[in-house]
Subunit: 248 residues, 6 copies
């Protein structure tokens, strides 16, 4: 099984963190390739940046889908996920989505803990889009100064653990999701310092992707994820143009 | 007051329909300029096409925001709306958004009537994002063959009126929203053939935009629509790059 | 365009505040007439007082509807609004309704800030009736001693600004609605002291009313806002009796 | 125990039906007095009529509360219920409220069956106000021509039973509420012809009122049903004026 | 009328408290018998314990249903309630259910106050199952050390009253439910020390059960509470086996 | 990795179907053992039967948990799942739960298709308990006569495919869940005859269980799935008694 993991951020340091966790999580027989967005911002933290990153991820999949059995959009907020699913035939899963799905059997409620208050309303929208707002206990955010996004995990480990504990005690969280690709790998590191299960998002996304591929779901020919009607395109890159104009 | 109305579709025939309704709806003293997306598809009907059209609209506003007091994203589904609001200081309203807001004081529930079943799940997501799913009676869709999108209105008028009447009788709709920019202008034409108020989306968006500009809201400096933190950008057009890197 | 703005409170000092804001907000060509309830209480703050004030507003409109193109019920809590819409053919909008509609395009969530904790549960019911509870971040209330309701705005300006700021910081409000007709005009005064947009309710109601009139919606002949079946009436004032017994 | 049952409709024929069911349902030791609204319409079927009937009921209770231990507002839609609770110290229950409360232990979902489609949206609002919309399977309405409201039950018995059965089969209703005071008594008559429990609304309201009185709840001195702040009143009947100006 | 009140806990001291309140609440002519679970734990505080207690209650009713007109499951969390309703023909009500139903006419929102934080998420699930989560203001829990469950009431009275008052002030509770069978009787004792109505759960359950029996609801022959299809049974006690294999 | 799959039904023919699908779905290195409930009914179809089957599953896990890394409750409706999670330290997943989690990335909405209308309200409750009611398009049920539950799949294949297609066309389902352990294996067989992805529940549960085990979640020491407080037990089997009295 071959999985494509797309970092829709432009920062290679985040790609490396994702790669390490993704490879460790992959089952025997699962090959994982990780690619970085060619344009955009180092770290997506807003809807505008997600609009840009979502299209970047879509362009990558338009080029390379046929080499893979499944794909992961490796950024919280799941940029472009709905759009990508329409055009792709392979299963694709987002980081927020995989995290909340895996959190469900581990507790009645989950809290999302991350490093920037800017992210909270947008994460909330994403979780609502997935229909899971009813199980969200809270979103708790540091207001860390983010200099080098590659260092945000190391610099804030203790504060994040404390925030997670407050989510458990004060908000009734029964699972903690450490959100944001720059925190990839932190979950397993702090596992024993948090009184409830911690979901490692990148690992969760690999396991959900593997599960989806194993189920061998057909490409829908009805509903909103079926291939869109073919249309003429103006001014888009060639692989995306071909996909929209000619389908697969 | 100067309003910029952006058609995120590439079809000039749709732009013309929008322009006619927008100008007729504008109050004395409101100047309306209408522009068409430079890239994308003739008519946005899916999340993927909205991702593309949303960025096209964002690029236009990145260039021209400072010439205007307010803006309208003149496509149902409101492509890019959340993203655009983060980066812009002027009020911006979407076609779906304006329609549902104006529908509220006219009836307890509204139905959305349009010409392609493809649109329904995506419109539903859009209405849920606006927090208005509780007032949605139904979405009723023709399955019209859409050859020339500029003709879809003329060719389907009677069928759309019938569909609207069934939404009233069977789904309990108390207001009808004729959705989709290609139907611009149809609302006033069929007004007397539907037993409940019909909201003309483009007209609604002009009136909401005028109202928002009149309220003189400040640009938020807190919350998720404040200016994002400045960041380095890779590979984006110059005006958008400047906006993300330097702010306003 | 002629708009009737009804103050369902009996206090003329509140009527004057409403009048000043309403006239300033009206577009060129919009004539606004403001009238005060003939019976009831100086300031409606409970469901019981709203039941009384709602009927007072209904009686006024039963007499004078045909002189106007649209109407505003200028009290938060929108007394009698649903009832009034059934019997009237012109568009009618409430102060809470207009405020929340205008708040929507300005932020993902709004908080309502006002001067008496008594009002909170009733305002919450009103917002739920409008289907907008999902976008309500919080209701924050002073517990101001209200001596002269005409002075409540002046005496509490600083405290209200502080409360608004706490709603932004602690509750995640992205828009502030300063609620209660006695606060009419305060929104524009404190605009720059609150970090998110402030909606001025009376101004919002004028703009929504103007927009509705411009859309020229037909009187529904189906659904729950169509004219009720004619019925014999006992013991009501003449214009209301005529409306219920004979229709328009 | 003394209960006051108020018919907010002006029709004595409906009062008689209510009286027969209420007296049969009352426990030994419960005295029931039934009164008819002094003004309004013969049968409340709209929000406007409920606004009028709600105030009529409020006036009756303002005069006579101190003679009773509890009260019932004997009209579906529960006219004025929230308002009345603020001003009264004795427990008061509405017909819709009592019906849905008693329906809950009898099935997972209930359908409301009645004789006029006009009533449906307003009943739905009432059930939502009670927080019970999640258990409502459907509202099914005859479109009976209502000549003499006193005859509507006799003339439509078979059609109503058939409608109830369709609600069970097609909508998944597990309890049927035959709604509308003019249908008082029909529930027990058709009990064996409907495949799920039928709630007789007037009987339910007597049992809930008896239960509430037995619990001896204190009058709230906090929250939205505490006595409103005293206020000067203009132009209201004397007992209501006294209650608002002086409290109890 | 004969009511069977089942304590699904094994502690006789709790049974005695329940008995005292139940008998005091019963109307003239209502005979109440109270029985204790034959197996399980002294006090049910978790889903696992409720699974065991629910089956214990089911076995008791399988044996003795035909001696009674109605039954009460006298533990908060309503162990086995849905299951029991399927197999029984008489009305059965749970303690949480009866409390929330009786709370509804007494205030817009209720808070549940009890003695162990362990109970909160499970009570919340129970209230959600009843469809009443929308009226739940909060669940406030002591973290009392529970030595002898028969003493928990006496030892914590003052702390529980204080908790109730905080629920009123900080969470907007308009009714207080003192939850947990070990607190039976406390409600009436502290009635005047809490600023809003306090619902005594055991008393509420007797009044709801009496009301249900008075309504004479038929056993459903449709829907999810009709008698299940008969099936062969392995390894269950005889009365339960007979009920599942042969029906009534 | 060792997984225990528990069939809470007593029918060995269903156990065999589950076993075949579970083993086929297991990854290399995953050992799956399947056991059948020792008491109860051949096929759980009601809440009462689930109460019995849930305790049967709990008893099995109380005996054998320490031999395994994870477990599956292999019946739709997830009997005893919440209770089991409290007492176990290994991850446990239910068949409904795994199916809806895997359905989420495959479509915006799912429909549940099965063979008995009896199951619908109970499945609906189960899906609501998982917080996923918002993504449920419909539950569609045959009313198959179930003679031998081992034959229900073969006898109804065509009817089930047709029902699935109607769920897609009429209810907007974007994923189909063929529910009920007796249908294990049908999903892959009919995959190409349904126009949207079909989730095979047993396979989904194996993949979710494998994913959960791989995440190595800690046993919660906070929240509602932490080990319950130790308590004396009366009248339960020895392993369950030991678990409740002494913990692990």
């Amino acid at each position: 099984m071959k999985l494509l993991v797309i970092n829709p951020n432009t920062s290679e340091s985040v790609t490396e963190k994702i790669a390490a966790v993704a490879r460790a999580a992959a089952a025997q027989g699962t090959d994982v390739e990780i690619v970085t967005a060619r344009y955009g911002v180092p770290y997506i933290a807003t809807r505008a940046e997600a609009l840009i990153g979502g299209r970047a991820a879509l362009e990558i999949l338009a080029e390379r889908e046929n080499e893979f059995d499944g794909a992961v959009i490796a950024a919280f907020g799941d940029p472009g996920l709905g759009a990508i699913r329409e055009l792709m035939a392979i299963p694709v899963v987002g980081l927020t989505e995989a995290s909340v799905l895996m959190a469900c059997p581990l507790g009645r409620t989950f809290s999302v803990v991350s490093f920037s208050s800017r992210l909270a309303p947008w994460y909330r929208e994403c979780i609502a889009w997935h229909g899971m707002a009813g199980r969200l206990a809270s979103i708790r955010m540091l207001d860390a100064h983010v200099g080098d996004v590659g260092l945000v995990q190391e610099e804030n480990e203790d504060l994040l653990v404390e925030l997670a504990s407050r989510a458990v005690e004060e908000d009734g969280a029964e699972v903690i999701i450490l959100a944001g690709a720059p925190l990839a790998g932190l979950g397993s590191k702090v596992r024993d310092r948090v009184p409830v299960p911690v979901v490692e998002g990148v690992a969760a996304s690999i396991k959900i992707a593997e599960g989806l591929v194993a189920l061998q779901p057909r490409k829908a020919i009805a509903g909103s994820f079926r291939q869109p009607a073919l249309k003429p395109v103006t001014g888009l890159p060639e692989p995306l143009t071909r996909l929209i104009e000619n389908g697969r």
